[in-house]
């Protein structure tokens, strides 16, 4: 069965403004470089990495809030990257996004009802009884009450606002939702509520998610497969069990090792990754991770490793393989 979403060679380079009177070409920020992955219907692909790895940029390119520099985004029979504005508008019904900051993602001057109804109105619904009923149903689906519809965002807590964002994303009955650090800004107990909600909705509606996060523990809970990015490149992608049990890329290993322990008894057994994350303006040559890799070899500085399937279902970009 062909996957719901197939991303091939997705790339985003930002050309920054030249600094004053300096000569030469303007600096190029290689935010995302040749990223390829697939997501099946009803599946959650976790996308992890640290700041600056490009994971949020990938998410935003899928909903074309950022225009890709290159690559294909095959979704429901068309290449999202190349759709005309009119066709894109229609396609937007099927792929939505939830952001990290529940405070900034809701228009403070619109009521909850207006916010959740907006996508429906954009796509031709009328503000009538039927639409209002749908809004009420959506609110209840995400754990809010129908009477919340008349209130304003500032009257809700962070977790509740995130629920409103989820209701808005569900309004058009999408098949795919990009969750861009959707739970990172929430308290742990609220985070758990929202993660459970997302899973319940997935079970009920057969939704597929791209779950972008930096917290590997949360990702492990909600994902079926996981992809790891570093400095704009995809370095490892595998099903959850494989990745967490036998991480093959040194960066994945370091990320897993850096996850805070959950019991004081486990103190002291971690190897701490040295060095700082390099700048995407001037990424290291060859394998971008070589400056911090404990197993670096001469070839790593010269040649960039390709993402290859070493074990079925498990792809890694590393010369060690």
């Amino acid at each position: 069965m062909s996957p719901l979403l197939q991303v091939e060679g997705l790339t985003k380079h930002f050309r920054l403004r030249r600094d004053g009177l300096r000569r030469g070409p303007a600096p190029l920020l290689r935010a995302v470089d040749e990223v390829s992955f697939t997501v099946a219907a009803g599946e959650t692909l976790g996308l992890v990495g640290e700041s600056g790895c490009g994971k949020s940029t990938v998410g935003r390119m899928l909903v074309r809030l950022i225009e890709p520099t290159a690559g294909r985004i095959e979704f429901l029979g068309s290449d999202l990257a190349r759709l005309s504005p009119a066709a894109l508008r229609r396609r937007r019904r099927d792929i939505q996004i939830i952001f990290q900051d529940p405070f900034g993602a809701l228009n403070p001057r619109m009521t909850v009802a207006e916010i959740v109804m907006e996508p429906l109105l954009i796509h031709g619904a009328r503000p009538d009884e039927a639409t209002r009923a749908r809004v009420a149903a959506l609110l209840e689906h995400v754990g809010l009450a129908a009477h919340h519809a008349g209130r304003y965002p500032h009257q809700f807590s962070g977790g509740q606002r995130q629920r409103i964002c989820i209701a808005r994303a569900l309004a058009l009955d999408p098949k795919f939702i990009v969750c861009d650090e959707a739970v990172s800004a929430l308290d742990i107990s609220i985070q758990a509520q929202i993660v459970n909600l997302l899973q319940d909705l997935q079970d009920e509606f057969g939704l597929a998610y791209l779950f972008i996060a930096h917290d590997l523990s949360v990702v492990k809970h909600i994902s079926h497969r996981v992809a790891v990015m570093y400095l704009g490149k995809l370095v490892e992608i595998a099903d959850k069990k494989s990745l967490y049990a036998t991480p093959r890329h040194p960066y994945t290993q370091a990320l897993l090792a850096a996850v805070p322990i959950t019991n004081p008894r486990d103190r002291g057994r971690k190897a701490v990754l040295i060095g700082e994350i390099p700048s995407a303006l001037d990424p290291p040559t060859g394998c971008r991770f070589h400056t911090r890799c404990p197993h670096v070899m001469p070839v790593c500085r010269e040649i960039e490793p390709l993402l290859e399937e070493t074990v079925p279902g498990h792809r890694v970009a590393c010369h060690l393989e």
Binding site: F99, A105, N107, I122
Partner: protein, 277 residues
């Protein structure tokens, strides 16, 4: 929204300004009743009468009742101020919103804006009224044109910020078109700084009109604008100081009330002062 209103009404400065302005507006509205005599009626036998029961504000060199003139002047000043504010609200917002939202137009529009702002305000106003002729309407146009670039910049600044918010991104992701985004998301959230600015602009307009009239470039005499009254009364400052003093005080009070209103609005509407969640 009513929450904002409540907070405004609890703000002492705002309420003071509102009350003062209310007095001026009432006077202006009731002009036909309060100004018993025709402001332009000459009565040469009653000239230079100091304030008394018969003539509460005295008379001027033509024997005209200063009470009538100042009261009618209130009406003229307020109408003027409102017109300038209205023109700015419409054209300033248009210019600022288009500039802030459409990157490609921004550069060009802002250069045009900067060109207008390069002229000192009063010089520009003088130039326009000199070109168009001295009249009330032309004074309104001149003052409005002088201020529109500044209003546009304020709106543009807000629009630039709002454009990048995630709720706008969410609307784009849902397929919203430009018009919907501008109308439902960008404009409603860019209004607060503009509203504050407009209240100060009202004050500025009233003073500018007085200045233009004073210089002879506003409404022609015998129109009883405060500026004209003060201009004419200038020569008689020693014999009949009330002619210039009373409209001067009225002007100061009106402008102060508008500034207080603006301060109150700014304190209440400025999002930085809102309590963090």
């Amino acid at each position: 929204m009513s929450d904002t209103l409540r907070r405004l009404l609890r703000h002492r400065l705002f309420v003071t300004g509102l009350v003062l302005l209310g007095i001026v507006v009432t006077v202006a509205v009731l002009a036909p009743i309060l100004a018993a005599s025709d402001p332009n009626r000459l009565a040469m036998r009653s000239k230079f009468l100091p304030p008394s029961l018969d003539h509460p504000f005295g008379t001027d060199n033509f024997g005209r009742s200063q009470l009538s003139r100042v009261v009618w002047g209130a009406r003229l000043s307020l109408v003027m101020g409102l017109s300038v504010v209205a023109l700015n609200a419409v054209f300033g917002t248009l210019l600022g919103a288009v500039s802030g939202y459409f990157r490609r137009l921004d550069n060009m529009l802002m250069r045009f804006n900067d060109a207008l702002m390069a002229f000192p305000a009063i010089i520009l106003a003088l130039a326009i009224t000199a070109a168009l002729g001295a009249s009330m309407i032309n004074a309104v146009i001149a003052i409005a044109v002088v201020y529109i670039p500044r209003t546009a910049r304020i709106v543009r600044a807000s629009v630039l910020v709002v454009r990048e918010t995630e709720y706008v991104q969410a609307a784009v992701a849902a397929g919203a078109g430009t018009w919907r985004i501008l109308r439902h998301h960008i404009l409603p959230n860019s209004m607060a700084p503009l509203i504050i600015q407009l209240s100060f602009l009202f004050a500025y307009a009233v003073i500018s009109e007085a200045t233009l009239s004073f210089l002879g470039l506003g409404a022609p005499p015998p129109t009883p604008t405060w500026g004209n009254i003060m201009s004419e009364g200038r020569q008689y400052m020693r014999e009949a100081p009330w002619i210039i003093a009373i409209p001067g005080v009225a002007l100061a009070l009106t402008v102060m009330s508008l500034n207080l209103l603006g301060d109150g609005l700014r304190d209440v509407l400025d999002p930085r002062l809102k309590v963090q969640q």
